[in-house]
């Protein structure tokens, strides 16, 4: 059996709305790809990824396994990150469109639950057990 892995740069998803990001991810995962994203989604986006996954569960697609490593931010970096979030929120408010956000610094792995059997997460790393 073959395993397809897609490594996605943050540029691919940055600036996209939450809906578009989730659609992009689930379309690929449902086809059997394991995705490695160069970044992490916001907590709200991750929760809605789970919600949307549940809506798409069927006999052949039981869901996903997902793991993200978020870069801890402190001091000035945290302040700039919050300011950047505020800028995004303000811009989305001005344009009245769906929120378009960038991925945060970090890494995410998302794959079909049929293939990814287990993810063991540590604070700064994770290991994946896959079965194809």
């Amino acid at each position: 059996m073959k395993l397809k892995m897609d490594f996605i740069s943050s540029a691919t998803l940055n600036g996209k709305s939450e809906k578009k990001k989730i659609n992009y991810i689930l379309k690929k995962v449902k086809k059997g790809s394991v995705l490695v994203l160069d970044g992490v989604m916001k907590p709200g986006e991750e929760m809605n990824l789970i919600r949307e996954t549940m809506r798409r569960v069927d006999d052949g697609f039981p869901g996903i396994e997902v793991c993200s490593l978020r870069k801890e931010m402190k001091g000035l970096k945290l302040l700039f990150d919050r300011l950047s979030d505020g800028k995004e929120r303000f811009w989305n408010w001005v344009t009245h469109g769906p929120a378009k956000t960038d991925l945060k610094t970090g890494m995410t792995l998302i794959g079909p639950a049929k293939i990814i059997k287990k993810i063991k997460k540590n604070p700064n790393s994770f290991s994946v057990l896959a079965e194809v």
């Binding site: 907590p43 996954t53 569960v57």
Partner: protein, 210 residues
């Protein structure tokens, strides 16, 4: 969207401001309903829902309203909201080992996915959350991380409840190591161990969502 927010604001303005909507969240089979039953039974004499070893037994949000808890002379009126277990996957084939097969298994899986969607929607309508974790399992799951990240982003107070401490394999300190920034209470909902400390912590930390 703006209209929805306005309606929500009106609803919040006029609703009874005395009861705290206490959401009980967590992965499947961590003992959420056992805990909800324990709290409800202690203060009202009635249970909230059925408990089972089969995952996704709770597939609808179960409520118990106007439960008044008390600790050290202080009282708090809460509405208990026992949520379906959160998960990133629901495979109907897994129900076979519990004797649920065919159409029934598929139906249960379908209801379970709807329950998870419902539980996530309810995050907009809870004031305080008890995030229940199984003391015998690794707490660093993506579901727990995502749940806590969400609650933090929404500024919803959260108390980590480490359940099943009566079991030999229990390692409650793993939760403290994984999530040191939250208040943690170790309990056995089944045996009622340490439940008074939970009531005290809820009264101390619970507040209405902003």
């Amino acid at each position: 969207m703006v209209f929805g927010r306005f309606i929500n604001w009106i609803f919040n303005f006029f609703r009874t401001r005395q009861d705290i909507r206490l959401g009980i969240y967590g992965c499947t089979n961590v003992g959420k309903t056992t805990l909800a039953n324990k709290i409800a039974k202690d203060w009202t004499g009635e249970e909230v829902g059925e408990v089972s070893k089969v995952p996704h037994e709770t597939r609808l949000v179960q409520k118990k309203e106007k439960v008044v808890i008390e600790s050290k002379g202080k009282k708090l009126s809460i509405n208990i909201l026992d949520m379906p277990g959160l998960a990133t996957k629901v495979d109907y084939r897994k129900f076979r080992k519990y004797g649920i097969k065919g159409k029934k298994a598929k139906e249960r899986a379908r209801e379970a996915t709807q329950g998870i969607v419902e539980a996530i929607k309810w995050l907009n309508n809870v004031d305080t959350v008890l995030a229940v974790m199984d003391a015998t399992q690794d707490p660093l799951t993506q579901v727990n991380v995502t749940l806590l990240g969400n609650l933090e982003a929404r500024n919803i107070p959260v108390i980590l409840v480490v359940n099943k401490i009566d079991l030999k394999k229990a390692k409650p300190d793993d939760v403290r190591e994984a999530f040191p920034q939250y208040p943690v209470v170790d309990i056995s909902a089944l045996k009622g161990e340490n439940i008074d400390q939970l009531y005290e912590t809820v009264i101390k930390h619970a507040r209405r969502a902003k």
